[in-house]
């Protein structure tokens, strides 16, 4: 059997500017119709498995346990009041989470602080229906690494708003290392100031349904966004990432790399990468890539890169997507050195993620991720 590699290289068309403002932006879930699988944004999503979170009105049955380590330069607080300005969400799930939550977590990185240690926000579920809002506010010229670690079991809609002030640089890793039955739906909204940069990393390993929507908005020129993702879906798991990078300012960059592996019957992964380069976003440089490795039969990887360009005056724009199985020549090579077929596949699988882990560049999560994948494979591969 030879490797099946499917390339999707879509036409990149320069399209006339249109109004991209979503029809609805609101903090009130009742402003949205209930989404169905006929809606473009939900066409890959198993609506029946969302435990009605998409209806925006499921009552809370318990909280998540949140713990944060103490790192100089970072402060964390919980507040009950929904004060201050907040932009409306773009779907009923996210607005429903906002309407239903009873406290907001705010992590503030002081201006100019150069954090020497990662801030770890650990969010532990105990099986209840709960909602969350985490704000990560990174002050001017600050530099920080934040790991948001989701574990346990939950039916959880929790959004993260990441605000990066001028000249600041932050790496936010969201780890979805849930137990098998968890459902987790989230919007991660990133707002970038002048010459600021973000590395946003989504790592989805566990949970029955995980659906993360990272989005980037540039508010001034010079912003840089690196959106990285690593996902693994075992039998019956649904791992979905939908990205939206809105290039609305000049001379900004974005780079998207998502890699996933699927193993077993009904394993389903979805990656949608929407990049919009607006007419005024001259000097934009963007590239996105998604690679999927199907380990055993029955899995399905949907991969849809989408690039919309309204100006030709850019530095570069491109995308690539591949979905394939193990390369037989690689496996033969390893086996011809005495390595068993199982061990050979494990090596290749580890290798598949290894360059991404080094690109993520947060060494403390490496072993955790490697081991979690191997445990979830359950010894077989």
């Amino acid at each position: 059997m030879t490797a099946v590699t499917e390339h999707i290289e879509r036409e990149v068309a320069i399209v006339p500017p249109k109004d991209h403002t979503p029809v609805i932006r609101s903090l009130d879930p009742s402003d949205f119709p209930t989404p169905t699988s006929r809606d473009e944004e939900f066409r890959f999503t198993p609506m029946a498995k969302l435990r009605d979170l998409h209806k925006g009105d499921v009552p809370t049955t318990g909280g998540m346990a949140i713990a944060v380590n103490k790192v100089p330069g970072a402060t964390f607080e919980l507040s009950a009041a929904k004060t201050g300005e907040r932009q409306g969400f773009t779907d009923k799930i996210a607005a429903g989470a906002w309407a239903s939550l009873d406290s907001i977590s705010t992590l503030t990185i002081s201006a100019d602080a150069q954090l020497e240690e990662s801030v770890v926000v650990s969010i532990v579920g105990s099986g209840a229906v709960s909602y969350g809002q985490l704000d990560i506010n990174v002050g001017k010229f600050a530099k920080a690494v934040v790991i948001v670690d989701h574990i346990g079991d939950a039916t959880y809609a929790g959004n993260i708003d990441i605000n990066v002030a001028d000249g600041a640089s932050v790496c936010v890793v969201s780890l979805q290392d849930w137990d098998a039955k968890a459902v987790h739906l989230a919007q991660h909204r990133i707002t970038l100031g002048r010459d600021s940069s973000v590395k946003h990393v989504s790592i989805t390993l566990g949970g029955e349904v995980v659906r993360i929507l990272p989005s980037v908005v540039y508010t001034a020129p010079g912003g840089q966004a690196e959106l990285l993702g690593l996902y693994f879906a075992g039998a019956g798991q649904h791992a979905e990432h939908r990205l939206f990078v809105d290039h609305s300012e000049a001379n900004c960059r974005s780079n998207v790399v998502y890699k996933g592996a699927l193993d077993g019957a009904d394993a389903h992964t979805v990656w949608v990468g929407d990049v919009l380069i607006r007419a005024n976003a001259v000097g934009t440089d963007t590239y996105e890539i998604n690679r999927n490795l199907v380990l055993s039969g029955g899995g399905r990887a949907d991969s849809v890169p989408n690039l919309e360009i309204e100006t030709g005056e850019i530095v570069g724009a491109g995308h690539a997507s591949t979905t394939g199985r193990f390369d037989d020549e690689q496996l033969f090579y390893l086996q011809s050195r005495g390595i068993t077929p199982d061990e050979a596949r494990k090596l290749v699988l580890r290798g598949f993620f290894e360059d991404l882990l080094s690109q993520i560049g947060v060494p403390e999560i490496n072993d955790r991720v490697r081991n979690s994948i191997e445990t979830r494979l359950g010894g077989h591969i």
Binding site: F332, E343, L347
Partner: protein
């Protein structure tokens, strides 16, 4: 003393237009301590023979036998063959992204020796072998064959052979793509393994230049899927001077 015996081996490859016969009855015996050179024109089936011995799934055996010290090689899986003592240095070594040379070699050696090597000894052993083949120590942390030049890949194949110390090594055009200095270094590596007398070598090549360093005990001429002539090293000189046409019987 190890010996591989190949008798009446016929092999097909699966192509888009169905199966195609490549090997048409190969008889060859290689014993530990011997060096056999196998020479033949492009497309005559030399690599097919090498892959068939190693167990590549693309090639199907339609007849004949291969035994290593009396054991049926053809009944073994690819990794079992390697653990039984067969080694193939490939004509086109494969890239394995994300897997470092050091991790790969440690995993391989652990599998072949049946236990993980003592870490301190292993590091020393690896360093020495790399130095002997003039491979930059930094290569240990590079991914297997990724971005390696042709010559670097070939050196790395011989590095593996030296560490594994196989009973039978098939070297498929290990000399191709090597500059003169690399050819000498690689040849010395092969000779170091041969000198122990525990390994039989089947050296597939197009050129006599490597045979100046690695002296063959036997030379076999391969043509259209079978061995058509056998002799000593003088046969190699004859081929270099006169080509293969002389061996073709109408």
């Amino acid at each position: 003393m190890s010996v591989i015996e190949i008798k009446g081996l016929t092999v097909q490859v699966t192509t888009e237009d169905g199966p195609k016969d490549i090997l048409r009855g190969v008889d060859l015996t290689v014993k530990a301590g011997e060096v056999h050179a196998l020479m033949g024109p492009n497309g005559s089936g030399k690599s097919t023979l090498a892959y068939a011995i190693a167990g590549h799934p693309k090639y199907s055996i339609t007849g004949g036998s291969v035994t290593l010290d009396g054991q049926d090689v053809l009944a073994m899986s690819v990794d079992e063959r390697a653990r039984a003592g067969l080694f193939l240095a490939m004509q086109y070594p494969v890239e394995v992204p994300g897997v470092s040379i050091s991790n790969f070699l440690r995993t391989s050696i652990t599998a072949i020796r049946g236990e993980a090597p003592n870490l301190r000894h292993w590091i020393k052993e690896l360093k020495e072998s790399m130095a002997g083949l003039q491979i930059d120590p930094q290569f240990a942390e590079r991914n297997v064959n990724e971005g390696f030049s042709g010559g670097e890949r070939k050196r790395t194949e011989i590095l593996q052979m030296e560490l594994i110390n196989p009973r039978i090594a098939v070297l498929d055009e290990t000399d191709s793509g090597l500059d003169v200095d690399a050819l000498r270094v690689v040849s010395e590596g092969i000779n170091r393994v041969c000198a122990k007398g525990e390994t039989g070598v089947l050296l597939i090549t197009h050129f006599t230049r490597i045979l100046k360093y690695v002296k063959p005990d036997f030379v076999h001429v391969f043509y259209d899927g079978r061995i058509v002539r056998e002799g000593g090293s003088e046969l190699a000189d004859d081929i270099e001077a006169n080509g293969y046409a002389q061996f073709v019987t109408a």
